[in-house]
């Protein structure tokens, strides 16, 4: 997002505030800016151009019932094939709902015959596994969602 668009958005937020609106959407050519605020919550900005990450093409995790600011997404560090277990005849490393410890293997991503074990970075609970077994994943693709536990 460039500074011009940032300014546009700020302007629109101001108008939103002044007029006590719930939503403003502006589109001009490729640039679309939508600003929405539900009564009593903080302002929520979506800008569909100039996105900073390749991950927006993935479906968002279905974790709306959790406070998303506390959830951790585990992303693939490599391009490869996602496996939930070390071999087909073995149980998966983890299931949704399982408690996991920091350093515990969650899954593997196989790339060029090399098995990359993906470990939990925190103690927590596996809220969601986002990828089907034996499916290709790209760099940075979210694999699963962990709810950190104290």
């Amino acid at each position: 997002m460039n500074s011009e668009e940032r300014k546009d958005i700020q302007d629109l937020i101001d108008v939103l505030d002044e007029q006590n609106l719930n939503e403003i959407e502006v589109q001009r050519g490729d640039v679309r800016i939508r600003i929405r605020r539900e009564s009593g919550t903080t302002t929520n900005v979506q800008a569909s151009s100039a996105m900073e990450s390749g991950q927006t093409s993935h479906p968002a995790a279905d974790v709306a019932d959790k406070d998303s600011s506390r959830l951790l997404t585990v992303a693939s560090p490599v391009v490869g094939t996602f496996y939930r277990s070390p071999s087909p005849d073995v149980e998966p490393y983890v299931e949704e709902g399982d408690l996991v410890s920091r350093g515990q293997v969650l899954c593997i991503v196989e790339a060029m015959k090399l098995m990359n074990e993906i470990e939990a970075e925190v103690d927590g609970r596996v809220v969601k596994i986002l990828v089907e077994n034996a499916v290709g994943v790209e760099y940075g693709q979210p694999l699963c969602v962990i709810e950190p536990l104290p």
């Binding site: 050519g29 100039a50 900073e52 390749g54 490599v78 391009v79 490869g80 290709g136 790209e138 760099y139």
Partner: protein
């Protein structure tokens, strides 16, 4: 023929290859870094995969991720474009070992021709005119002094593993030779992890003329004539044209013959470029062989009507070349201007958001770009954002069209080399034709943009 090709590149050349594949009915896979997620080249492919962060060492040069993406998507070949992995023998070798077709020559060709000293030795064996210089790396200062006096000063010290002008020194007198060798070695060690250097004769007004070749695995090879790439700044080409204003039919035939000798000497295949130094007496010497498609390949396409990317793909899939040397005909004149996102005065890269991008069109104009208005030019990559290629009945016609198109080309939000290209194209010496590689430095020294 391949069913699906992965393009291990970005920007205009990635889109160029995707277009060729679409026209051939071949599916494409684009791989991209995180900042390129919304780039036109990625959106135009049939499939796409993110292979790493913005830093190209972790994405476009990440061999495991590139190959893994090819494997996952079921691609049966990889086109490397130019730059990145295009002349990486190791990458070509891994492709070969996992049964993935590398669209280019074999890894042995890439390795041999990428090593200047070995390449030179091979060409000498086959009686090919190479740059006058030391046969192999310099052993010691005595060796250097002896070779230099045979060549006659001035001479050039060059790094074996070098390129783009790095690790290069011009020496006018014997007294300066030792110091020049030492500093070139330091630069070479830092830049290329190999400090071998060699000597070459220095030419005061050289012209850079290169011959495009195409070879299949069935022993057929053709040359597609020359490109004159003498308009350079620090070994970076800015304007290329075909035919060269200083190459006539007889010289083209001679140079083409030598280029095909090189092909035969190493049993080369796929597209390649034999780069020559052409001196003021019409003598020419092979400088090096590029084992990839060149940035400037479109000027050859415009005058021959042959689609070089499609030929690369056909040849890589084992199809014999569909034409012989006698079928190659050259029509008219073509010129390419490289539009870089750079300050036209300081050459400092100018990344940023492109607020306006109107490309020229009409008769005789081709634009190769993967940029659109509102796109961002990233600081992580090469600053080439577009290639403007003009074709006309003759050189004057092609220049007039290129000038007209440069005037129509409207880019806002970033600085580009367009004003410099305008300056070059209206320069009387350039218009007369046949300038040397010193032209641009002289123009820049005296210019008023």
């Amino acid at each position: 023929m391949f069913k699906k090709i992965l393009i291990a590149n970005r920007g205009e050349i990635a889109l160029r290859i995707i277009r060729a594949c679409r026209e051939m009915g071949i599916k494409t896979v684009a791989v991209f870094s995180e900042v390129d997620a919304q780039a036109l080249f990625a959106r135009q492919a049939d499939e796409r995969m993110c292979i790493g962060p913005a830093d190209s060492a972790l994405s476009y040069l990440n061999i495991p991720n590139v190959l893994s993406a090819a494997e996952i998507t079921g691609a049966d070949a990889i086109h490397p474009g130019y730059g990145f992995l295009a002349e990486n023998a190791h990458f070509a070798e891994i492709c070969e070992s996992v049964g993935m077709t590398f669209i280019g020559p074999t890894s042995e060709h890439v390795a041999l021709l990428g090593d200047k000293v070995k390449a030179r030795a091979t060409m000498l064996q086959h009686g090919i005119p190479v740059m006058p210089g030391s046969d192999g790396e310099l052993q010691n200062l005595d060796h250097a002094v002896r070779v230099a006096s045979e060549l006659g000063y001035p001479v050039m010290v060059k790094a074996s593993a070098g390129g783009g002008g790095r690790g290069l020194r011009v020496v006018s007198r014997e007294a300066e030779l030792g110091k020049a060798i030492l500093s070139a070695q330091v630069e070479a060690r830092t830049g290329f992890a190999h400090d071998g250097v060699y000597l070459e004769k220095f030419f005061p007004e050289p012209r850079h003329v290169e011959i495009q070749v195409l070879a299949d695995e069935h022993g057929h090879a053709v040359h597609l004539g020359e490109r004159d790439c003498s308009i350079q700044r620090r070994y970076q080409k800015l304007v290329e044209e075909s035919p060269s204003p200083v190459v006539d039919d007889a010289l083209r035939k001679e140079m083409g013959k030598v280029a095909l000798q090189v092909v035969k000497a190493v049993n080369y295949r796929n597209a390649g470029t034999v780069e020559f130094l052409l001196d003021q007496n019409r003598k020419f010497y092979v400088m090096e062989v590029n084992t990839r498609i060149q940035v400037e390949h479109p000027v050859t396409e415009m005058v021959t009507g042959i689609d070089l990317i499609k030929e690369q793909i056909r040849v890589a899939s084992g199809i014999p070349l569909g034409f012989r040397q006698k079928d190659i005909q050259w029509q008219g004149h073509s010129i390419e201007c490289r539009i870089n996102a750079e300050c036209p005065e300081t050459f400092v890269p100018s990344p940023g958001v492109v607020s306006r991008f109107r490309v020229p069109g009409g008769a005789g104009i081709r634009v190769d770009t993967a940029l659109e208005a509102t796109d961002q030019v990233h600081p992580h990559y090469d600053s080439l954002i577009a290639k403007l290629i003009a074709h006309g009945q003759d050189r004057a016609d092609a220049l007039a069209r290129a000038q007209r198109a440069l005037d129509e080309f409207a880019v806002e939000g970033i600085k580009t080399t367009i004003p410099l290209q305008r300056l070059i194209l209206r320069d009387p010496d350039f218009q007369k034709g046949g300038v040397s590689t010193n032209f641009l430095d002289r123009l820049l020294a005296g210019r008023m943009l």
